[in-house]
């Protein structure tokens, strides 16, 4: 009988990724995913989650359509006017959308970990194909796809005879982007799997951010030293333009051999009348696709063979540092803070999320400084830079139990009330936010100049209002809408669109209040009044936060089963 069963498996097991058995497996997976969606609708949180995901997709689609319209208009204009040298800009934009967004959105994307399928008789071809296809309806692909469609439409409207060629190039370019995004995330997960590597990468990342922040003031001071006061602004602009042309010339030489440049070169060919060059560009683009696919294949092959991303460094004898406590005191608050302090540095996504706002501060302060707001000084520049720091803490604050995993049971089993656990987490997150906010304030001051005392006071008052509001809402959301987070992974996370949506709404509410108070008081010609108004709101939010903490245990007990089921469930 066993022989018969084995024979059946062998018969159906052949046929590669498109064979009979593979097709059955794909069908089973589709049904499984569909069942998971419908089963999610059984609970209110699940239904809310799906609703929020739908809303998120609509929002991203609208954003994509807006961007696609812009790129389409650009493509049309370039083809009509013959300024084909600008075509690579469009392809680079699509490339950036496709490659940068997956990392930025990694924590909000629900991705199915296909390694779980390896216990079944799945062939490598099927495994590879599934890795490509699964998660294809994600935000970067939607945005990238719409942008590509926009470019295709623009080119076709300008030159209908180019439709087929442009469609082929864009399809190949899209395939390259999908492969590259998958490859990067797969290898990043591999590299960051080892704790030592992760620590090194984290250190490099932080150093890089600091260097970037310090580089600009350094360059500015050098430029200031080199330019005598009598040199006019016009001369400076001329010098800058000359230097900029030099940079772009060098960059263009390199860019022409990279996939976005190659794709653009193929589309731009008819105007220059060099079909051989066009074919060569297409060929090299194809080689890029194959090479990227092969690099992804190496990684997936290792996973297919059962490689386990090991955390294990070599065993080491006990040393003195093992017994040291980061935080003294034996109380549970110290215990929770110490646990968090040991956990956070081991999570690259969290470090990235906390540090990234500083990079944003660099960018937006440059925009404000260069008069992006119509040339007039932007009074909200300084507070906006500070409030960006808060955005990095969204995931940490609004899902503060997400990383506990099965450990959530320990929290319920221990004699420590959940409110104490939340208080400890809030204290740490508040302190970390204060640190990042101070860094952002210092950077903004370096970039934009010292803010006047009134604005400084208003910003401080806003922070005092925003932080407890975020913490209170975060505690409520963490207890009622938790989702499990794997702190060691950049990709293949289970995110929560519902939680992301609610947290964004709360951020919009908090920032709206701040901006509203400032604008109204400015309109009344009593800008200073915004500070006491925000302080009054801060007092209210502080009371609300304390109330939420006071009720945390009863709320946690009411949601205990959901919390344990969600956070302690097996992947």
């Amino acid at each position: 009988m066993a022989g018969l069963a084995q024979a059946e498996i062998q018969t159906t097991g052949s046929g590669g990724p498109f064979g009979r058995m593979a097709r059955r497996q794909y069908a089973a997976l589709v049904v499984m995913r569909w069942r998971m969606v419908t089963n999610n609708l059984r609970s209110v949180q699940g239904a809310f989650e799906i609703g929020a995901r739908g809303i998120g997709l609509i929002i991203y689609t609208i954003m994509g359509i807006a961007l696609g319209f812009g790129l389409g208009g650009g493509a049309y204009s370039i083809m009509k006017t013959g300024h084909l040298q600008f075509m690579p800009v469009l392809f680079w934009t699509v490339f950036l959308v496709w490659q940068v967004l997956p990392i930025a959105l990694a924590s909000f994307q629900e991705q199915f970990d296909l390694n779980g399928l390896l216990r079944f008789p799945v062939g490598f071809g099927s495994f590879y194909l599934l890795n490509l296809v699964f998660g294809l309806v994600d935000v970067p692909t939607i945005l990238g796809g719409i942008c590509s469609a926009g470019i295709l439409t623009g080119i076709t409207l300008a030159r209908p005879q180019l439709f087929f060629k442009a469609a082929c190039v864009l399809a190949l370019f899209a395939l390259f982007n999908i492969l590259l995004a998958r490859t990067v995330l797969a290898w990043v997960d591999r590299w960051l799997a080892k704790r030592r590597t992760r620590e090194v990468v984290s250190a490099i990342f932080l150093l890089m951010m600091l260097s970037l922040q310090l580089l600009n003031p350094a360059l500015r001071s050098e430029a200031h030293f080199q330019q005598p006061d009598k040199v006019t602004t016009k001369d400076n602009q001329q010098k800058f333009m000359n230097r900029f042309r030099g940079w772009t010339k060098n960059a263009h030489a390199l860019e022409a051999w990279l996939p976005p440049g190659l794709a653009a070169a193929v589309v731009a060919e008819p105007q220059e009348g060099t079909p051989e060059r066009s074919m060569m560009s297409l060929g090299i683009l194809g080689l890029y696709v194959l090479a990227t696919g092969a690099v992804l294949g190496v990684r997936l092959r290792a996973e297919f063979r059962g490689e386990r991303l090991s955390e294990a460094p070599a065993a080491r004898k006990r040393n003195e540092s093992d017994t040291k406590w980061v935080l003294d005191g034996s109380g549970p608050i110290a215990a929770v803070i110490e646990k968090e302090l040991r956990t956070i540095p081991r999570s690259m996504p969290l470090l990235f999320a906390m540090g990234a706002p500083l990079l944003t501060v660099l960018v937006i302060s440059t925009l404000f400084k260069n008069g992006a707001m119509g040339g007039r000084p932007f009074q909200l520049a300084f507070p906006l830079c500070v409030c960006y720091a808060l955005l990095g803490f969204t995931q940490l604050i609004f899902n503060n139990l997400g990383a506990e995993g099965t450990g959530i049971q320990m929290l319920f089993l221990s004699p420590t009330p959940i409110r104490t656990v939340l208080l400890a987490k809030n204290l740490l997150h508040g302190a970390l936010f204060a640190l990042v906010a101070c860094l952002a304030a210092v950077l903004a001051t370096l970039r934009l100049g010292q803010p006047d005392l009134t604005l400084l006071a208003i910003t401080a008052a806003w922070v005092l209002f925003a932080l407890p509001t975020n913490l209170a809402a975060g505690n409520l959301l963490s207890l009622t809408m938790p989702y499990r987070v794997n702190l060691g992974r950049v990709s293949r996370q289970r995110g929560s669109q519902a939680s992301a949506l609610v947290s964004m709404l709360i951020q919009a509410f908090v920032m709206g209040f701040g901006v509203g108070a400032l604008e109204i008081c400015s309109y009344l010609d009593k800008r200073w009044l915004a500070a006491p108004v925000l302080l009054a709101l801060a007092a209210v939010s502080l009371v609300v936060w304390m109330q939420v903490l006071a009720k945390a245990d009863s709320l946690a007990n009411r949601n205990r089963e959901n919390l344990i089921a969600t956070l302690a469930k097996t992947e």
Binding site: M1, A315, K339, E561
Partner: protein, 278 residues
């Protein structure tokens, strides 16, 4: 081994009930997972709580340890109602729950220290017990490894270490021997027996009936959410034997035979139906 447990029955601390439930019921929607379960575990007992898969063992443990709220019924641990004295009781109980409740991103010493501090132990006590437990559980060489990278057996040992670090008076163990190698299992049995000798109470669920037979003085069997047997091994043996033909069968009855007889399962019949299996 059962003999040793029987000796403990005569100790003075046995007079107090360590665990007492009355009419314990838990429903999940239309499904009643545990129905009207009433039993008492005397202090110092090694109590085996058995049942087939899905019988309601883990649900019962979750209710007893405060992870799950009963739909009906009462629970008393060490003479106090759980709902009214939850925090106080949690200091006195230790649990290895179904999912082990570990924190994967910490190392074993970090996790044990965290748990010790959550139970309010002093710094020196936490450090000392952490080292002792790591040595005892043979995890000392793995101190730099993250828990997420531990094998299943190592995780079980760590979960057990965490459950006892605060010296609980009542210990709840949900499948503690699952995935643990024979050497470690022997070591754990010795440790648990030592705890019993010092007056602790252990509430154990496991599918390894041989371990129950060797360690436990009392056994309860739950089937389809209802308690179908409760008593000492001798009482169970006598009860089952009375339903079987021939009086001499009582002495030869193993716990497995008693268990199968009580829950009415016939595994052989089920496998025979799967004719395509070897």
């Amino acid at each position: 081994m059962p003999g040793a447990c029987v000796t403990l029955l005569s100790l003075p601390h046995m007079e107090t009930a360590a665990i007492q439930t009355h009419g314990l019921t838990r429903c999940f929607g239309a499904l009643t997972a545990v129905q009207d379960v009433t039993f008492t575990v005397a202090a110092g007992q090694f109590f085996g709580f058995l049942g087939p898969n899905g019988a309601g063992k883990s649900t019962t443990i979750k209710m007893l340890t405060g992870l799950l709220e009963p739909t009906a019924g009462t629970i008393e641990i060490l003479g106090k109602p759980f709902t009214a004295s939850a925090l106080d009781l949690k200091r006195q109980i230790g649990v290895v729950p179904e999912g082990m409740a570990l924190l994967g991103r910490l190392t074993a010493p970090e996790y044990l220290r965290f748990v010790g501090r959550m139970y309010g132990l002093e710094r020196e006590t936490v450090n000392r017990r952490t080292e002792e437990l790591l040595e005892f559980m043979q995890l000392a060489d793995e101190r730099r490894k993250l828990v997420t990278d531990f094998s299943h057996g190592m995780q079980k040992k760590l979960a057990l270490a965490a459950a006892v670090i605060h010296g609980p008076r009542v210990l709840f163990l949900d499948e503690p021997f699952e995935g643990v190698d024979a050497i470690a299992a022997g070591m754990l049995k010795t440790m648990l027996q030592g705890m019993i000798n010092r007056g602790a109470t252990i509430f154990l669920t496991t599918h390894v009936l041989e371990i129950v037979e060797r360690l436990c003085s009392h056994v309860a069997i739950i089937h389809q959410g209802r308690l179908v047997a409760n008593g000492s091994l001798a009482e169970l043996r006598a009860g089952v034997a009375s339903t079987l033909p021939g009086s001499e069968s009582e002495q030869r009855l193993t716990l497995e035979e008693m268990f199968l007889s009580i829950v009415g399962a016939s595994a052989q019949e089920q496998t025979q139906e799967l004719s395509w299996l070897a």
